[in-house]
């Protein structure tokens, strides 16, 4: 961590005769094991393990995370490089899933002592079968959190018989409580007190030594690996000429640089993407000492990996120039599958769950289970305890995923010169009274800078208003939204408005505080460039730290004065070759303080009372005829917006037309118990979404609605609200000819008499009671709107009930009803209906099977050539009423198809995989969405060819889901 400079250090950086010698340590990893491929490959796609023979070395020396080179000759990597993902056996090497390596029989495999930044990919076999890193099943990894070891590389000089250094893993951390233990090993040299956090390492010979520290907390274990480079006069590192002097940027997320090597000796061993460390031998007058914030690694200037290379070829003296990327750049290249984690109140049972989910827990998962980051570099997380219902950042590179998740707490990842990653809350957004723990590294005096200090004064505000929103969530609660404005409802005179959304918040006060701090930060007055007159590497762009600065009015022509703290955001090291003098330019911003802020407005709710007296009852508008699209033509556009539901609640996507749709959960506002029993989902023409939550039989039933995709659900009605607490909600339906009109049926569970049920109709503003009528008390029923009237299919009277259809007017008035009993066994059962152009298509969950065509006079004609799965969306017709796909009532649920309005059905199971019992037509004769279990597919030709998989990330955000409803929106 950053710390204030000592008096002795300040005295040194203000001395004359500072100079340095620069060196480059380039890791040429030792060979641990070599062998040759002993198999042929039918495919080079998704290779995860390789048979080998002809081994040299002990396969048990291979450690997970090591790098394997694959090449056409011994020690070559021309075929590619892979990561060892787990311990090898006597004939099999297990590697990270790859498709880019040119595997071939008898290819040479060289496992080297190197731990790089690699992705770990998840493997989704099915909703119930998800693995990390190909074959790691979920056990207790999200409870017995693996600790994150903290240790650093070192570069040492052997000038006598031996050299020793103290190692330190004391900053290692773990998300789980418990005593932390340490066990160190080294690939050579000697360790003293290797079971403590601070052992001594001693080497008696030059070389590269791997040091490994296994940190254990309870059942959580992780081993971190770093390297100690030991040089002597006979084994010198490369002398470096800096090409691009290292520079770091908080905005960019870390440090990069470049150097040139002119010494040809050994250049040929420099390997692509090799770890390289720029380090120095520093002199402050007569003192040979290096100053830096990390004990033991003070002489390290920059840790990175070779990225690019350019060769200068000339007849006298060629050279090679290398570009070096810090870890942030490399993590940015790790293209990842989508991430997503959900909070769970109980111990997690899947890779997608974490109990009491926080941003830190999500990031830990990313750096530990989705990459090797926490194994091969030190990572510090925020320590923030704000909980999240879910965190998902979509697909992309892992740095972006870390950045997007961290943004929920106004934090950001950044790597320092040593390649340590810090995910910290932007220190400008930390309340004033919580800044005391942030160190002031030094006060910049006139003795500390040279040339001229640039002061950029910003007298005009850049941001006029911050509109901030976020939620407070605790496990087991629904969450509370907070809104804040800074400076208030009225803009500042100048600047644009900025919206900050989806923050995790503790309370309204924190929302207001952050809004004010953001506005103060964005509108700060001063930015600075300090050209530092010393080899001072104590200041960095992270972790959190300040420098203090004073500018006196008499020192500048404008009489500007400043006396305060500065946050350094960029550092560029400067190297004067002739003088061998390293210095720096620090670019920073003044410490920011909050501006005014206030409670914001809930979207759509005015500040003032805008209510008006209720309108007098108006006559009902005449019903519109049901409008069906014209005869269908093939539509080559895939559906784009789709909403669904299942045992994990409601989910939706806006890119269903992509190869891998990104699904999002939208359960905010739905009671946890109700999420798992969504019986029916409907979408009105207004876009409002409605769900009826109830078990198939014997349940109270609750209706929720939300105004649109991604919205918060509002509880609309519960069965318990009716019939003196004995009610249940049996059915819900909607009117497709009205902007937003729904109907539902409540029944009285305490009696089976006539008039024990009430028909209701309304919209999101409320509902009215229609006619009372008879219905069995809790078998699921169904409501549709057809030809200007509501139709209710239900069970009437007692356990041996009769299937019945009742017709209501648009305003809920009883019109007619009749039995639709056409066979024995159709008694007490769930009923389902679809409105077709010329009749109602009705089936049920009774044992009788078959289906009915029902006329407007409620005359049922029975057909028995096919029985359908007893679920609410097991049949779906196109608007023409001609084409339908349906799920047959059978154990395997085969898909059937009709193109003549149900007159005949054909089995298309040879094309459409079985198991789809949720079918949704997309408003033409061709496009149907098929769901079932955790699978969701699209057919563009009504099942003529194999449907397209549209699971996307659904299995990750809701891995155990059993889909019960799908609605096409657009």
């Amino acid at each position: 961590m950053a710390r204030p400079m000592t008096e002795g250090e300040l005295e040194k950086v203000r001395r004359d005769n500072q100079f340095s010698k620069l060196f480059i340590a380039i890791h040429n990893p030792a060979v641990v094991f070599s062998c040759r491929v002993n198999q042929t490959f039918d495919s080079l796609d998704k290779v995860v393990e390789v048979l080998y023979n002809g081994a040299t070395g002990d396969y048990e020396d291979i450690l997970p995370g090591m790098t394997a080179w694959i090449g056409s000759s011994a020690g070559a990597w021309d075929y590619g490089q892979v990561r060892v993902r787990k311990s090898a056996t006597s004939d099999t090497l297990f590697v990270g899933e790859n498709s880019d390596v040119k595997w071939a029989d008898e290819a040479y495999i060289t496992v080297v002592d190197e731990f790089g930044i690699w992705p770990k990919h998840p493997r989704v076999v099915s909703a119930d079968e998800v693995y990390m890193d190909y074959d790691v099943a979920y056990d207790d990894q999200h409870t017995a959190f693996a600790p994150v070891p903290i240790l650093e590389h070192q570069c040492l000089w052997l000038t006598g018989a031996s050299v020793s250094t103290q190692l330190d893993a004391g900053d290692s951390w773990c998300l789980a409580d418990g005593e932390m233990s340490f066990l160190w090993t080294a690939s050579g040299g000697t360790l003293i007190d290797e079971d403590t956090s601070t052992p001594i390492f001693e080497a008696t010979a030059a070389g590269v030594y791997r040091i490994s520290c296994t940190v254990t907390v309870g059942d959580g274990v992780q081993t971190g690996h770093r390297y100690i480079f030991v040089y002597d006069s006979e084994n010198m590192p490369f002398l470096a000429t800096l090409r691009n002097t290292p520079s770091g940027s908080y905005e960019r997320g870390g440090w990069d640089g470049g150097f040139t090597i002119t010494d040809p000796v050994g250049l040929s061993i420099v390997r692509d993407r090799a770890l390289c460390i720029l380090f120095s031998m520093d002199f402050y007058g007569s003192d040979k000492v290096s100053l830096g914030p990390v004990a033991g690694s003070e002489n390290i200037i920059h840790v990175g990996w070779l990225a690019g290379e350019s060769l200068n070829i000339n007849p006298v003296r060629g050279n090679a120039s290398f570009e070096v990327w810090g870890p942030h750049q490399w993590i940015s290249t790790l293209e990842e599958f989508i991430d997503g984690l959900e909070d769970t109140p109980a111990d997690p049972t899947a890779w997608t769950q974490i109990k009491n989910l926080t941003v830190d827990k999500c990031l830990w998962h990313l750096i530990t289970w989705r990459s090797t980051v926490s194994q091969m570099m030190s990572c510090y997380l925020s320590g923030d305890s704000r909980q999240a219902l879910a965190l998902q950042s979509g697909e992309g590179d892992q740095w972006s995923q870390i950045t997007r998740n961290a943004a929920a707490i106004a934090a950001k990842p950044c790597c320092d010169r040593y390649g340590r990653m810090f995910v910290e809350v932007n220190q400008q957004l930390i309340p004033e009274d919580e800044r005391s723990s942030i160190p002031v590294v030094m006060s910049i005096t006139k003795k500390d800078w040279t040339g001229s200090v640039n002061v950029i004064r910003n007298p005009t505000s850049r941001i006029s208003q911050i509109v901030l929103s976020g939620v407070h969530y605790e496990t087991g609660t629904e969450g509370t939204a907070y809104f804040a404005l800074a400076p208030g409802h009225v803009f500042k005179r100048y600047g644009s408005t900025t919206s900050v959304e989806r923050l995790l918040l503790n309370d309204q006060a924190q929302a207001n505080s952050i809004a004010g701090l953001m506005l103060g930060w964005q509108n700060r007055t001063y930015d600075f460039d300090f050209p530092i007159a010393a080899n001072n590497r104590m200041v960095d762009i992270c972790p959190q730290q300040y420098v203090a600065a004073t500018i006196a009015p008499e020192d500048n022509p404008r009489g500007v004065s400043f006396d305060g703290r500065v946050v350094i955001r960029e550092i560029t090291l400067d190297w004067k070759e002739k003088e061998s003098f390293m210095s720096a330019v620090w670019t920073g911003e003044e410490e920011a303080f909050p501006e005014n802020s206030t409670v914001g407005d809930v979207p759509g709710v005015d500040e003032w009372d805008s209510s008006v007296p209720p309108l007098p009852k108006l006559p009902s508008l005449p019903s519109l005829p049901v409008l069906y699209p014209p005869p269908n033509m093939p539509n080559s556009n895939q559906p784009k917006v789709v909403v669904g539901c299942g045992s994990a609640g409601v989910f939706y996507t806006r890119d269903f037309d992509s190869d891998s749709p990104t699904w999002y959960l939208m359960n905010n506002g739905i009671d946890t118990a109700d999420r798992a029993k969504i019986y029916k989902i409907i979408v009105t023409p207004s876009g409002s979404i409605w769900i009826l939550c109830r078990a198939a039989f014997y349940d109270v039933g609750t209706i929720y609605y939300c105004s649109g995709l991604g919205g918060t659900w509002v509880k609309y009605a519960s069965g318990a609200d009716f019939h003196s607490g004995h009610g249940c909600i049996e059915a819900i339906g909607y009117d497709p000819t009205s902007t937003e009109r729904i109907a539902f049926l409540t029944t009285n569970t305490s009696e089976n008499n006539d008039h024990n049920s009430i028909f209701h109709y309304g919209n999101s503003g409320g509902y009215s009671n229609g006619s009372a009528m008879g219905s069995n008390h809790d078998a699921p029923a169904d409501i549709i709107f057809w030809n200007g009237n509501w139709y209710l299919a239900h069970s009437l009277w007692g356990v041996f009930a009769t299937p019945w259809v009742t017709k209501f007017s648009a305003s809920g008035t009883y019109i007619d009803s009749a039995s639709i009993n056409t066979d024995v066994g159709q008694d007490f059962a769930a009923r389902f209906m679809l409105p077709l152009p010329s009749f109602i298509f009705e089936w049920d969950g009774s044992g009788a099977g078959g289906w009915n065509e029902i006329s407007s006079a409620i005359v049922a004609t029975r057909f028995t050539d096919l029985s359908f799965d007893p679920s609410i969306q097991s049949v779906s017709f196109s608007p023409s009423g001609n084409v339908a796909l349906a799920a047959k009532a059978s154990v395997s649920i085969e898909t059937y198809k009709t193109t003549d309005g149900g007159a005949s059905w054909s089995d298309i199971a040879s094309v459409v995989p079985a198991g789809a019992n949720v079918i949704e037509n997309c408003r033409d004769d061709f496009r149907f969405i098929l769901g079932g279990g955790a699978t969701i597919k699209l057919t563009m030709d009504a099942g003529a060819t194999a449907p397209i998989n549209k699971v996307g990330n659904l299995s990750l955000i809701a891995p155990l889901i059993d889909i019960t409803g799908i609605r096409y929106i657009s």
């Binding site: 005769n17 100079f19 800078w449 002739k578």
Partner: protein, 130 residues
């Protein structure tokens, strides 16, 4: 004859020997001491020396034996050595430094004429407390 001169050289601090007492003695050189490679102006207007001190030892000529004697301390193009040399104020101090052999040697008969040896990256070795 040269008792007032303290020029020394060696591969270790303790092993430094007066030039005049080497196996093949060398005459004291003409030395040009530079306190630092360069300087920068600080915010208060003062200067800070940056880079190491430099010095150069120059002889009008060295015999072949003397040249070879000196070359022993710098077998290659450069070598890390210890020297005791004169400062700008006429006093002497010990330094560890890099000795750089000249790029060209002007040999005339059995002598090398106008030879200058540079010493860079000079780090002062403070005198021990009495």
């Amino acid at each position: 004859m040269y008792e007032n001169y303290e020029y020394k050289i060696g591969t270790t601090l303790e092993g430094m020997t007066l030039l005049t007492e080497l196996t093949t003695p060398l005459k004291p050189p003409a030395a040009a001491f530079t306190p630092s490679v360069g300087s920068i102006t600080l915010g208060d207007g003062t200067e800070r020396a940056i880079g190491s001190a430099l010095t150069a030892w120059h002889w009008g000529f060295l015999t072949s034996n003397q040249r070879d004697q000196l070359k022993e301390f710098c077998p290659g193009k450069s070598a890390e050595v210890y020297i005791r040399t004169i400062l700008a104020d006429g006093t002497y101090a010990n330094y560890s430094c890099v000795m750089v052999w000249p790029q060209n040697e002007n040999r005339q008969a059995t002598r090398v004429v106008d030879i200058t040896v540079d010493f860079r990256q000079m780090v002062l070795i403070p005198p021990e407390e009495p």
